[in-house]
Every structure is written in C-alpha cells, then in structure tokens.
C-alpha cells in the first residue's frame, strides 16, 4: 500500500485506497454538471420546463440506462459486452416472429427475456469457460446476433404486436411518469443494492482490481463473471421489450449503434474502463446528463453531429479530469 506521500504513479492500488474520496467527489461533480445543464436548458429554451416534455425526454435514456446498470457491473469486473444492441435486435426479432403467430403480451415478454438471457449465456460460455477475451467474443456475437435478425427479416418488418404490448414503451403509470421511467428506477435500485450492499458486489470490485488475488481469496471469479454476462443479456432483453413496444415494430436495424452509447453512459458515470471502480448512483446521474444534453440540444434544433461532438467532449473531459485532478492534488497538497 502506498499513501499520499509518495510521488504520483499510475498503479491500481493508489486508486483503490483513495477510492471513497474520489468517487464521492466524482458524483458530486457529475451532479453539478447535471444541474448546470438543467439550468442552462431552462434558460435557453422556453419549452424545456414542461412536465410532459421532460417526460418525453426520459425516453432518450431509459432503455440505454437499463443495460448500462448491468454493463457497469460487467465493466467493474474487468469485462465488457459490445453485443447488447445486437441482443436487442435478436430478442425483438424473436418477439416479432412470435407475434405473427398470435403470441399474447405475457408470452412476448417471456420470449424477450429468455432470448436476452440465452444470448448472455452464449457470451458467458465463450468468455468464462473457454477463457477468450470478452471484447473479441462480443464483437463477434454482435455480428452474429444481428446477422440472424437480418436473415430472418431481410428488408421486411414485423408489425402486428398486440395492442396491450404498447404499455411498456408508450404507457404511463400515473400523470407524466412513464412505465419505462418506473422500470428504470426499480432496476437502478436493484443494481445499486446488488453492487453496494452485497457480498456479490464486493466480489465484483475485487475481481476488477485483481482477478488473481480475488481467486486466491476464495472468490469464484468465473462464476461471478458468468452471472454478470447473463444479467447483461437479461437487461438487453428488458430493453428490447421496451424499445419494441415503443416503436411498435421490428426491423433488423433496431438499436443500431446503441452499445457505444451504453458504454459512454457507464464511463461518464465514473466507472473505470479498466475495471475495479465505479458506482450505480454515478451511472444514474450520467443517464440523466446524457438525456438532458441530447434533449436540450434537440430543443434548440442543434444538428445531431454537434450533439455527438458535445457528448464526445464530455466523455473525454470526465476521463481526463480525475487524472488531472489527482496529479494537481499530489503536486499541491503534500507540503
């Protein structure tokens, strides 16, 4: 263990000893950014502060955030899943296929979840049992899962979902609170408890920091990772249900490119892309930041490319800031 008196060097142990403090400040900083964006948006557009408009805006992030929670756990453990958007495409295609044969809403939900779960198991087998790198495996399954959708659908679309199926993506629980927003909140709490309040959550951090040490401490590393891939697949299935219900149709191009937005959200939330640190509250705030930024810029009719640039800058900023911060603090505060 090193403490602050040694010169700054990039070693994971350092990050870990000061983790609580850094993470604490990190979330406060992110929250400040979110509030700043909220205030700026309110000043810049007269349409921003409207309950219904803000309710519509939540669709910009709810589905992505559902996956982001599971992805956060996976990235903290030192793995990644880039096939999540393709899992959505495959799960949605399976649901559309079943809907053609008259499947009702409960069956469709079950199919969406099961397909998501199976895709997660498929990834998990390659990574945890065959020991292949997750980034390579999931880049492969990304093409595989979406490829199956393209084979089934070609340039066609599945329509004809039962009317009650629209509840998930278009329904409201009460007043302006959508079903998706409620789901988002429930899932956030579940993952927050799982990561921060359980032994399983501690094990994820341990694995991310040092898998070998974790193994020698009696943590069943491969089993934990297996479960995390499975959860990511399952959450992709949940997102597939919401997105399909919101669009009311399925095309193989559904959710194209969403995996990068999910990873962006996780990293923006303060999860270290190298694994070992991060928190669910951070991801929740990051989801709101991304949703507010895209919606706010959309209200001003800022072209999409400028939005991408802005999100990109935000991301680079948040990755660079902790490093700069640590370096500055080490230089200044140790006298």
């Amino acid at each position: 263990m090193t403490d602050g008196s040694t010169p700054p060097r990039f070693i994971p142990d350092r990050l870990r000893t000061r983790k609580t403090r850094i993470l604490h400040s990190w979330e406060i900083l992110l929250l400040a950014v979110a509030i700043a964006i909220f205030v700026i948006n309110s000043l810049a557009s007269p349409y921003f502060l409207n309950a219904w408009n803000l309710s519509d805006a939540t669709f910009n992030f709810t589905e992505k955030a559902m996956i982001a929670f599971a992805m956060a756990l996976l990235i903290i453990s030192g793995e990644i899943d880039l096939s999540v958007a393709a899992i959505i495409a495959l799960a949605s295609t399976a649901m559309g296929f079943a809907a053609q044969y008259g499947a009702g809403t409960p069956e469709l939900v079950a199919i969406g979840l099961v397909v998501g779960l199976l895709c997660g198991v498929f990834n998990a087998i390659f990574v945890t049992i065959l020991g292949l790198p997750s980034i390579v495996v999931t880049i492969g399954t990304m093409s595989l899962f979406r490829g199956i959708s393209y084979i089934v659908l070609g340039d066609e679309a599945f329509r004809g979902y039962p009317a009650s199926f629209a509840w998930f993506g278009q329904g409201y629980l009460f007043w302006v609170f959508t079903v998706e927003l409620a789901l988002f909140a429930v899932i956030a709490v579940i993952y927050g408890v799982l990561l921060h309040k359980t032994n399983f959550g501690r094990a994820i951090y341990a694995i991310g920091n040092n898998p070998t040490a974790a193994l020698f401490s009696g943590i069943r590393v491969q089993r934990v990772k297996f479960i995390l891939f499975l959860l990511t697949g399952l959450m992709s299935g949940v997102a597939a249900i919401c997105l399909t219900s919101r669009l009311g149709s399925t095309r193989p191009s559904i959710a194209q490119g969403m995996e990068l937005e999910v990873v962006t959200m996780v990293v923006l939330g303060g999860v270290s892309i190298l694994g070992g640190s991060g928190s669910i509250p951070g991801v929740v705030i990051a989801a709101f930041v991304m949703g507010l930024v895209t919606f706010g810029l959309g209200l001003l009719n800022v072209p999409g490319i400028v939005m991408s640039i802005f999100i990109g800058l935000l991301l680079i900023g948040v990755i660079a800031l902790p490093r700069l911060w640590t370096m500055a603090a080490a230089k200044r505060g140790r006298t």
């Binding site: 921003f48 669009l247 209200l299």
Partner: protein, 331 residues
C-alpha cells in the same frame, strides 16, 4: 473543484449558446426532418424549403435530422419537435413503421405531419408526397429519347433485371404511351442486371445487333452510366443517344462527352419546396388531406391525393448540359 465546475458549465453554455435561434412565435414553424444530416440530396431539399419559406413570408424552416439513418434517432428529433410545439413536421422517414407511434403523438398534439421522399405508414401521417409516379416516369423516359429524334428512329431499352419491379412497371407504362410518339420504334429490351460490366456488354451488343440504333433508354442508374461508357468506347457519340434515369453526379461525364443528351431523376430542391408548401397549406390554411383532395404547392402546381392520401409531385426533372454543373455536386 469550483474551477472544474466552471469549465464544464461554460463548455455546456458555449455549446448551447452557439446555435440558439431566435424564436418568433407568430411564424408558422415547419420542421423538415431528413434521414440524416450531411447528405447532399437532403441539403438540396432544405434549399428548396427555404425558397418556399421566402415565398410564403411568415414561415420559419427548422432543418433537422439525426446523425445516422436510424429510426431511434429520428424519434428523438420528433420528440424534441413535439416539445417545441412546431406547427408542422415534414419527414423523409428512416423506417415506415417505427416512427408511427411518435408521429401519432405529434398529430394528437395538433401538429401537422406529412411524409415526403421516403414515406410513413398511412396512420402516421396526413399525406405522403412521392417525387413522381410510375406513369409519369414511363412517359418521361420515352419522351427524353423522342425529343432528340424529330424524324423518328429505333430505340432499345437496357433495364435492370427481368424481375425488377420498378423497372418493369416503368417499361410497361412506357409501352402504354408509345402511340403518342409516332415514328419511335422500340426494337428490343435487354437486361444488364444492374451490374456495371453486364450492362456494358449488353449495351455494346445492342449497337452491334442494331447498327441503325438511335437511342438507348436505361431506366436504371447503373445501366445508364454503363451504356454511356459503351457508346463512348464504340465511337458512336452523336449517333446513339443514351438516356433514362440516372444520378447527376454519375452522369456528368456522359453529358460532357455527348454520349447522353439528357436524362431524368427527381429534383430534391423541388421536393423540399413542395413538401414545405404542402405542410403550410395543412398547418396554416386548414386544408384537409383526404382522398381526392387537390392541394396547391406554389410553382409546382397542385398535388392530387389518391385513396391512400399519397400524391405524385411532378414529371422527373430533366438534366442536360444546361444544369448538370449545378446538380452534379448535390447528389
């Protein structure tokens, strides 16, 4: 900490301030939503929309679209437009079906919704503007050949594949109006399968089989370019005129060499202009888009809606030496 906060906040401020438009509430605000920004065809359509806005006077055009051609991206754009309570949305859709729930919501909130170029399913819009119709295209391709053959002559058709639905319908429509072009004789139809090399060989074969051939009609953008090249290579520029449907950027060389006198395709400027005019009529003048309705669209005449509330804008636009320079950089 506070310095960092300031940096982040001012970055956000700069990004939002840079493009904050002045909002004039009494204007009719029409959003022209395209498949993706940065595509020449749609930039040209936006130019047409601005032209219509200038003509109408009290119209503000919001030209917008996602970064890449996804339905989800367009839905985010639509939600932002609903929130701004725009008066009309005119959209070229990335997905016929997926946009329907979002556009229905827009219509429920009193926003006029029309689709143009690439349509939305009927329940998600009030009308759809097609650039042209099969009958107009069929007539145009034979007219292009006939215009340069005042004394009549032999023409051949170079199509895509035998099963290409669009091309088959256009050739059928062309056959129907042949009576209006006396002296023009269609000698044969060959198929280049929309492959450049096969189209080239078929065009070369045509010139060998019919030494007196006066024109080749290729109602496909691949075939027309290949045929023009075949004519140049055979040294028959001036004898055989290649015409049909093509893209200005690909056909500029053929026009320059004289292998093609003229060809046709939709004009994106007219399309954006007409879409804006139609959206304005529905949003500001309480015109109802119902089957059989005739809706005026400024210099482009009127749009007659069929039973699916779709209409065809005009004849395909003719491109020749006089305007190819202007359009070849657009699409």
């Amino acid at each position: 900490m506070s310095v960092l906060k300031k940096v982040m906040a001012s970055a956000a401020l700069a990004a939002t301030m840079a493009s904050a438009p002045a909002i004039a509430q009494d204007d009719v605000r029409i959003a022209l939503v395209v498949k993706a920004l940065g595509i020449g065809f749609f930039e040209a359509a936006a130019k047409g929309a601005e032209e219509a806005a200038e003509e109408l006077g009290n119209v503000e055009i919001i030209y917008t679209g996602p970064t890449d051609t996804t339905a989800e991206g367009q839905i985010e754009v639509i939600n932002a437009l609903i929130a701004q309570n725009v008066d009309a949305i005119a959209i070229s859709a990335n997905d016929t079906d997926a946009l329907v729930p979002a556009l229905k919501k827009a219509m429920n909130r009193g926003i006029t919704v029309i689709s143009w170029d690439s349509g939305v399913a009927a329940e998600g819009r009030q009308l759809h503007l097609n650039p042209s119709s099969n009958a107009l295209i069929g007539n145009m391709i034979i007219k292009l050949a006939a215009d340069h053959l005042p004394d009549g002559g032999d023409v051949a058709v170079l199509s895509a594949t035998t099963t290409s639905t669009n091309q088959n319908i256009w050739i059928e429509e062309m056959t129907k109006v042949m009576g209006e072009y006396p002296g023009i004789n269609v000698v044969t139809t060959v198929y280049g399968d929309d492959l450049a090399d096969k189209s080239y060989r078929e065009a070369t074969g045509l010139m060998q089989s019919y030494p007196d051939l006066d024109a080749i009609i290729a109602p496909t953008s691949v075939g027309i370019v290949a045929a023009a090249q075949a004519v140049v290579d055979a040294g028959k520029v001036g004898e055989v005129n290649v015409t049909g449907l093509g893209l200005p950027s690909e056909m500029a060389g053929a026009i320059e060499s004289g292998a093609s006198q003229s060809f046709a395709i939709w004009n994106p400027i007219d399309l954006g202009y007409s879409a804006t005019m139609l959206a304005y009529q529905l949003a500001a003048n309480d015109v109802v888009a119902e089957p059989g309705a005739d809706i005026p669209m400024g210099r482009m005449g009127t749009l007659t809606l069929d039973e699916n509330t779709e209409g065809a804008m005009a004849d395909p636009f003719v491109y020749d030496a006089s305007n190819i320079e202007e359009f070849k950089s657009i699409f």
